[in-house]
């Protein structure tokens, strides 16, 4: 599914002394099957933006088209349908677990979709497997006796069980340890390639964004600063720093190395790519 954001503006508490313009005339198109990263400092408008994509917030002006259809011009019943297609995983989604068992919690979405018991069961099994957990070992456990990383996965599985075509994740790795981070990212990546769903990833980790996405949306004070490939975005070091962001450590390294090796490429943002480029330049 493609998502087209057209001249989207959102003002909180409009007309009151607390009026705050969180989004200002945003227009971008997220292509079907693409993997988009969103970066911006706290308060830049990232969360406000993604909450428009499945109609949780209504724009002050402008609109969002999902597969060509204006989601704010549809009937309420259609909007509910849309939320099944555009799955949103909030920050710290484990805070939203509530059922007695993992199986019931993950099955809550599909149950509300009105699916049959068999279908629900199948989806629950599949999505628990997709997030790298053992269905039989975990299905009867209370979500609250799991570790932080497991809870996070169960919460993500709950959204996957609705089989969304667009998956939006707001900092899915915050607070996880390095291995947990890597595993969740790898699962999101394989979900994207295998199921060809559109993924939108909000993250503060430039390293993760650099590794994962096709295109980065940089947002500052409610406005689009860049919407381009990581190669292009991460070479804009001074602009990024001026809006409270950074580039991956290796990107800084490449810039420093350029003084001695003028031919070295600067559009490098993973350790793997840095290794190749350094070897190439040094070995000549």
């Amino acid at each position: 599914m493609s998502v087209e954001i057209k001249n989207l503006s959102h003002t909180y508490s409009e007309g009151s002394p607390f009026e705050f313009r969180a989004l200002k005339d945003i227009s971008i198109t997220i292509e079907n099957g693409s993997f988009i990263g969103i970066i911006g400092h706290t308060g830049s408008g990232k969360s406000t933006l993604i909450q428009h994509l499945n109609g949780l917030l209504t724009p002050t002006s402008g609109t969002v088209l999902v597969d060509g259809k204006d989601i704010f011009e549809t009937k309420k019943s259609e909007l509910i349908q849309l939320r099944h297609h555009v799955g949103l995983v909030f920050q710290y989604p484990e805070h939203q677990l509530f059922e007695e068992t993992v199986q019931k919690d993950v099955g809550f979405g599909p149950k509300n979709q009105g699916l049959s018991e068999d279908e629900i069961d199948q989806r629950v099994r599949q999505s628990i497997k997709m997030v790298g957990l053992d269905f039989d070992a975990i299905k009867d456990k209370s979500p609250f006796e799991l570790s932080g990383g497991q809870m996070r996965r169960v919460a993500i599985a709950g959204v996957l069980a609705m089989e969304p075509s667009v998956l939006i994740l707001d900092e899915p790795t915050a607070g996880l340890d390095p291995r947990g981070r890597e595993e969740i990212l790898a699962q999101i990546k394989s979900l994207h390639t295998q199921k060809q769903i559109t993924v939108v990833l909000v993250s503060h980790s430039m390293e993760d964004i650099g590794k994962m996405v096709d295109k980065i949306l940089v947002i500052n004070e409610g406005e689009v600063v860049f919407f381009d490939t990581p190669n292009r975005v991460f070479t804009e070091i001074s602009t990024l720093e001026s809006i409270g962001l950074a580039v991956p450590q290796v990107t800084y390294l490449m810039r420093r190395l350029k003084e001695k090796y003028p031919e070295i490429r600067e559009d490098i943002f993973t350790v793997e790519a840095a290794k190749k480029e350094i070897l190439k330049v040094i070995r000549g």
């Binding site: 340890d177 190395l257 350094i278």
Partner: protein, 283 residues
């Protein structure tokens, strides 16, 4: 009193801790015989994967929980002795992950005053302590603001000021940057390092971000409730393979050095920073 005891901020002696479970066989053994000590004025980083026992350890140091076996001594006081509780919590302050859970008042300076007020500090002295604490975290300009209008990094600095106003000897930071954006993370790390360097504050910093502790005096690695490695950041991080085996990471520059050495490049194996990598590659 020997010199040794005098300089000891924290002494953890063969500590075990289990979280109870309704089924006794499933009780979680969070710490399995941990011994460590922290000197006054030290900056110690603690790393370990989720569930390794880091947070349990930090709660033991602050006397929020108590060892099932063994002793935790903070500034010469045993946490087991309930009379010591308040002194210990005042001696070892804690800063947590989520800034929103730590701020209680509606005005920044009132929030910072909350701790000393509870300690019964006289009003005039509270005023002085609050001003001093806000100056240390460089937030004086925000004294009359509402905490919820601040950024994540600023909120954490207020939380730190709130601890400083209680005049602790040591601060335990339990993943204070986990929820922050890059600039917030930088602000908080600069504040922590400055406290240690300029104010000689003993700092225990628990984190998943390896870059944050490359300047620490010492790094302690926990795994399955035990101390498995301990030493200077340089000697710890160069053990790339071992750290990866226990689910941890190394700073990006150390990893790159490790990879390049694997390709036969002659560079040191204990590179930690961009500066050192530039030097190694530009000789």
């Amino acid at each position: 009193m020997t010199m040794d005891v005098k300089n000891k901020m924290i002494d953890v002696r063969d500590v075990y801790f289990s979280y109870p479970h309704h089924n006794e066989n499933e009780a979680v053994h969070a710490l399995n015989g941990v011994s460590l000590h922290i000197e006054k004025g030290e900056f110690v980083g603690i790393i370990g994967h989720n569930g390794s026992g880091k947070s349990t350890l930090s709660k033991l140091l602050n006397a929020i929980i108590f060892p099932s076996q063994g002793d935790v001594i903070v500034s010469g006081l045993n946490t087991k002795d309930h009379q010591n509780l308040w002194t210990i919590r005042q001696t070892a302050g804690m800063v947590f992950q989520n800034p929103d859970n730590q701020l209680v008042a509606t005005i920044v300076e009132e929030d910072v005053a909350f701790g000393p007020e509870n300690l019964g500090v006289p009003p005039l002295e509270i005023r002085e302590r609050v001003d001093r604490a806000l100056a240390v975290v460089e937030m004086q300009a925000y004294a009359h603001q509402k905490p919820h209008q601040l950024s994540g990094g600023q909120k954490q600095r207020i939380a730190i000021a709130g601890i400083l106003a209680m005049e602790p000897e040591c601060i335990i930071f339990d993943e204070p940057t986990a929820m922050l954006d890059p600039s917030g993370r930088r602000e908080v790390m600069e504040t922590i390092k400055r406290l240690n360097r300029d104010k000689a504050m003993t700092v225990i910093h628990i984190t998943h971000f390896m870059e944050e502790i490359v300047d620490a005096d010492r790094v302690i690695v926990l795994d399955k409730g035990k101390v498995v490695m301990e030493g200077q950041p340089r000697t710890i991080f160069k053990q790339v393979k071992r750290l990866k085996e226990i689910g941890l990471d190394v700073p990006q520059m150390t990893e790159l050095a490790y990879e390049l050495r694997g390709e036969g490049l002659k560079i040191p194996d204990d590179v930690l920073s961009i500066e050192e990598m530039v030097n190694a590659l530009c000789q």
